[in-house]
């Protein structure tokens, strides 16, 4: 049983009830802001709010302390109704130092609450952040409700008897901030206390310090009546069921494990660490009891190579990376396409090109996924629309890879990977099995085995794994003779095989759901999206409707092949808007495929669209 935190009744301060609230924690990358944000989020999730999060951190592990590039932040929106994004402008900003304030205060909505750690506002830090005078002393923060807390001092005081010393003392100050936030927003304290006790079970002094700092922050709020009122967001009326709070990388890893169970194949993940995909490796490597084998290869190419070997061996084979790593894997992916072996290729996209913005989201690898291979090598390409949907998209990618004996590209991005949302847990028993048929008998005349004899429905070739008697065969990157699989340089055969491979992938369109339209069928404007813009587009459409205008939205989970009904859907609207975090990649595909004059709304700023940006554009178009 967790210690009860001694709290005065927060209701001694008047409470204002809100239906939604956007909070941002900002501090130095060593200040523990991601942790504080995640704890606040989990407490809110367990309380029953709907929520969505947006972490943002520098590419450097520890940029110089106190500087603008070193600022790390975590934004979360909580609400008493179903929300779709982490919010545009924060209602409350925690700034642990001047740099965090400088970088974030402009986003804070007018009248919003600002919580600052006054101890960090010394001359040196102010200078590093580019302040000529202390914003706490002049009038630059007029219009915000400012809560000033000497967090360093109060944290030191709070933890002095817990046994932590030296540099570790101030490491608890994020818990001070969290305690203050728990008071201000009526968050339940038990989940945080329980988490601390579990997490630091082996370091009781650290657990004690964090709890003491958390308590001190809470008490600071009560004792100083830091604001004239506190805020409350009631639980959301979500659909009935059991929920957990999950980010995209975790849901993706769990989805792969689920696919492995449903296909009854061992899971093999061959990869090389890269931001923001590494957490998929971290998560999978913890679950070896599911028969998961993770392989941290010497490089990206070995990551995909090992997956191809594992696919040949009869595993559910997966490789994962981000754009630069996928570029390195490109040749091997084409090999796998030629071999016609099942494999999932995960691309957690980030800002590019080259090293680009490794910790920021972007959707700029769509054309690369569709066309970024040598030769004629069309692949199925799927895109995850939100963190929790990563689970089922991973299962779907596995289903298509195995059924059609082909590599499948599964796109995620940094926003999905690190953002989190409540997930209505599925009944795992009702997830349909993935059918796997290994070849066990010769399929040719006189007991011969023909590795490129195809299934008449799917055009998939048989999967005959080494160790199966009588099916010894050779596959390879050289062009195959149809049916026999022998090396062939015959011109007609190359035409046939090229067409067959393309047809096999195109035919998947008959095995995927139609794209669904959400909103007003008689609208003039349809907003078409793919990937992580899902929530933002839906939220923008809601706002448009609230203002009395009509709009429809559709979101693509399958980018190749495109759903069969997409052309008809697009043609039934007067105007098509395609918002993308790139310079217009889906736009190009749609225009080329359907000869439709769609318009793009494009942003490559290393951050997601704001709901307001898409709303404005739609409003312009509906007029």
């Amino acid at each position: 049983m967790a210690d009860e935190i001694a709290t005065a009744d927060p209701k001694s301060t008047p409470t204002e009830e809100l239906d939604q609230l956007v909070i941002r924690f900002a501090g130095d990358s060593g200040d523990g802001m991601q942790l504080a944000g995640n704890r606040f989020t989990d407490a809110s999730a367990l309380f029953g709010n709907d929520l969505a999060t947006l972490p943002s951190f520098p590419a450097e592990i520890r940029a110089p302390a106190g500087t603008l590039p070193g600022v790390s932040s975590f934004q979360v929106q909580i609400a008493d109704f179903d929300i779709l994004t982490a919010g545009d402008a924060p209602d409350c900003l925690v700034a642990m130092n001047p740099a965090a304030l400088m970088k974030n205060y402009k986003d804070l909505r007018q009248g919003g609450t600002l919580i600052v750690n006054t101890d960090a506002f010394d001359e040196r830090n102010l200078a590093k952040a580019g302040y000529e005078s202390n914003p706490l002393d002049d009038d630059s923060l007029i219009g915000y409700r400012v809560i000033q807390a000497p967090m360093d001092e109060l944290t030191k005081e709070a933890v002095k008897d817990t046994g932590v010393s030296g540099r570790n003392v101030l490491r608890s100050k994020n818990f001070f901030a969290l305690g203050l936030m728990a008071w201000l927003f009526h968050r339940p304290t038990e989940p945080t206390i329980e988490w601390v006790e579990k997490k630091f079970a082996k370091k009781p002094e650290v657990a004690a310090a964090n709890k003491a700092a958390f308590q001190a922050g809470y008490t600071f709020g009560v004792a100083t009546e830091a604001t004239k009122n506190t805020f409350e967001v009631k639980p959301a009326a979500l659909r009935e069921g059991t929920y957990t709070n999950v980010n995209g990388n975790t849901a993706l890893a769990w989805g792969l494990i689920a696919a492995s169970q449903k296909a009854n194949l061992p899971l093999f993940y061959g990869t090389y660490p890269i931001t923001p995909a590494s957490d998929v490796l971290h998560e999978l490597s913890r679950h070896k009891n599911f028969g998961v084998r993770t392989f941290q290869a010497e490089d990206e190419i070995a990551g995909v190579g090992s997956a191809i070997g594992a696919a040949f061996a009869g595993n559910l084979a997966v490789t994962g990376s981000s754009g630069p790593g996928i570029a390195l894997k490109s040749e091997a992916i084409s090999l796998c396409f030629m071999l016609e072996l099942p494999m999932i290729v995960i691309n957690v996209q980030r800002g590019g090109p080259s090293t680009g913005l490794p910790t920021k989201p972007e959707q700029s690898d769509l054309l690369f996924s569709l066309y970024g291979r040598h030769g004629e090598s069309p692949l199925p390409v799927l895109a995850i629309p939100s963190p929790s949907e990563a689970f089922e998209m991973a299962i779907e990618a596995a289903r298509l890879a195995i059924r059609y004996m082909t590599p499948v590209i599964l796109l995620s991005d940094n926003q999905i990977a690190n953002g989190s949302e409540p997930w209505l847990l599925p009944d795992v028993d009702t997830i349909p099995p993935i059918e796997v048929t290994f070849a066990t008998k010769p399929n040719g005349p006189d007991g011969t085995f023909l590795p490129y004899m195809r299934n008449v429905d799917t055009f998939a070739r048989p999967w005959a794994v080494p160790g199966t008697p009588g099916l010894e065969h050779r596959i390879g990157g050289l062009e195959k003779e149809s049916i026999s699989g022998n090396v062939s340089y015959d011109p007609n055969n190359h035409q046939l095989m090229t067409d067959t491979r393309a047809w096999k992938v195109a035919n998947i369109a008959n095995d995927i759901p139609d794209v669904e339209v959400d909103g007003d069928e008689d609208a003039k404007v349809l907003v078409l999206g793919w990937g992580s813009t899902f929530g933002t587009i839906r939220a923008a459409a809601r706002r448009v409707r609230l203002s009395g205008e009509k709009v429809a939205t559709a979101h693509l989970r399958y980018l190749n092949p495109l759903p069969n009904n997409l052309g008809d859907v697009l043609r039934s609207y007067e105007k098509i808007l395609i918002p993308e975090m790139n310079t217009g990649q889906l736009l190009k595909v749609i225009r080329a495929e359907y000869l439709i004059g769609a318009l793009g709304l494009n942003k490559v700023a290393g951050e997601p669209f704001k709901v307001s940006e898409i709303t404005e554009k739609i409003m312009e178009m509906v007029k």
Binding site: L46, A237, G241, A258, F312, N315, E472, I475
Partner: protein, 349 residues
């Protein structure tokens, strides 16, 4: 079940072998097929993985499972295969360009990991399939299509490289010597973990007689140093011997030293320094050159360790429970009786 009885023909495919007439690859293929037939192990349990190059066509000609992959990546592909299927005998067929140039990284990492696979490197010191450019084992000064003024690239010594990567089994053999080749294949097969065999292979079109010092009737007597475990390292019909001086191997006249000073070869020596010293006796096959097993030591094989970890996790944590997994971060329930969605937070993390 009785062991299958095979002949060489059982390991030949119906595909026409397409190497240049006179290529050393034919001899190596024959040695391999004879060796496999002699093992009596079901042929479906063998997998040959290759990259790109003349040698890489090898899997097409062996009636087992096989994959002709992409340039340099065979060890990576074989790692995924061997790691997940310890029941198979996995072989990598590669060349000097494939293994040491484009695939150098995969080679050294496979060797250090000690995955259960056998790497056979056909070293002809030239690029054959691309028609005659110098390779990373070509000698300095070599005049080729891409080095008309002579190559200025300093070559690798593949055996030294493998030892430097801490390979647990390192050997060298010669295409022409079928018996020696088969003996090396046998020892590699018996080794647990990665085995590395460099095969000096003659490319009669682009680099003919590169190994004449070891194959020529006159020359080989003076230059072939056969390493035999537990025996003094002597050659040239006993006239020459190898001694260690200051950590370096040196060739001396046998008569000039105390017989006790002659190095006794011990392939199982845990430290690779002496094996490395032996590999430095010649930096290429241009004079006295050792053949045989340089190193053969025990170290846990990677695939066995990986699978032991999986089994240990199952034993400790129980078999995976998917429903438990997706609830492991704490859950809350929105009940039917709470129209406002009031919910009860219960952490079962």
């Amino acid at each position: 079940m009785t062991a299958p009885s095979y002949t060489r023909a059982d390991f030949q495919t119906d595909q026409e072998v397409r190497w240049c007439p006179g290529c050393g690859d034919y001899t190596i293929l024959a040695s391999m097929q004879m060796f496999l037939a002699g093992l009596g192990r079901p042929r479906e349990e063998f997998v040959f993985i290759s990259g790109i190059g003349c040698a890489a066509r090898f899997p097409y000609y062996v009636e087992t499972y096989g994959m002709h992959s992409i340039h340099g990546r065979a060890p990576a592909i074989a790692t995924g295969l061997a790691t997940t299927r310890p029941d198979l005998s996995v072989w990598v067929i590669t060349g000097d360009g494939d293994a040491l140039s484009i695939g150098g990284n995969h080679l050294i990492h496979a060797l250090r990991r000690n995955v259960n696979m056998k790497i056979v490197l056909f070293n002809n010191q030239i690029y054959g399939l691309t028609k005659g450019q110098y390779s990373p084992t070509s000698e300095v000064g070599k005049s080729t299509k891409s080095s008309p003024f002579g190559s200025i690239d300093y070559p690798f010594n593949p055996v030294s490289l493998a030892l430097g990567a801490d390979a647990t089994f390192v050997a060298r053999t010669l295409d022409m010597d079928r018996n020696h080749t088969q003996a090396m294949l046998q020892k590699a097969y018996e080794h647990e973990g990665t085995a590395f065999i460099e095969v000096y292979q003659n490319c009669n079109v682009f680099n003919d007689k590169a190994f004449i010092q070891l194959t020529g009737k006159e020359e080989r007597v003076h230059n072939r140093i056969d390493l035999e475990h537990g025996k003094p390292v002597v050659f040239d019909e006993g006239a020459k011997a190898v001694v260690l001086r200051g950590g370096e191997a040196e060739i001396v006249d046998s008569s000039s030293v105390d017989p006790k000073a002659i190095l006794v070869h011990d392939e199982t020596r845990p430290d690779p320094s002496v094996a490395f010293a032996l590999s430095r006796l010649s930096h290429g096959p241009y004079g006295p050159t050792p053949l045989g097993v340089f190193r053969n030591v025990k170290r846990d094989a990677y695939d066995i360790a990986v699978n032991a970890q999986v089994e240990a996790a199952k034993a400790k944590m129980g078999p995976g429970d998917l429903d438990k997994l997706i609830r492991s971060h704490g859950t809350w329930t929105v009940g039917p009786t709470s129209p406002n969605g009031s919910s009860n937070g219960q952490s079962n993390g």
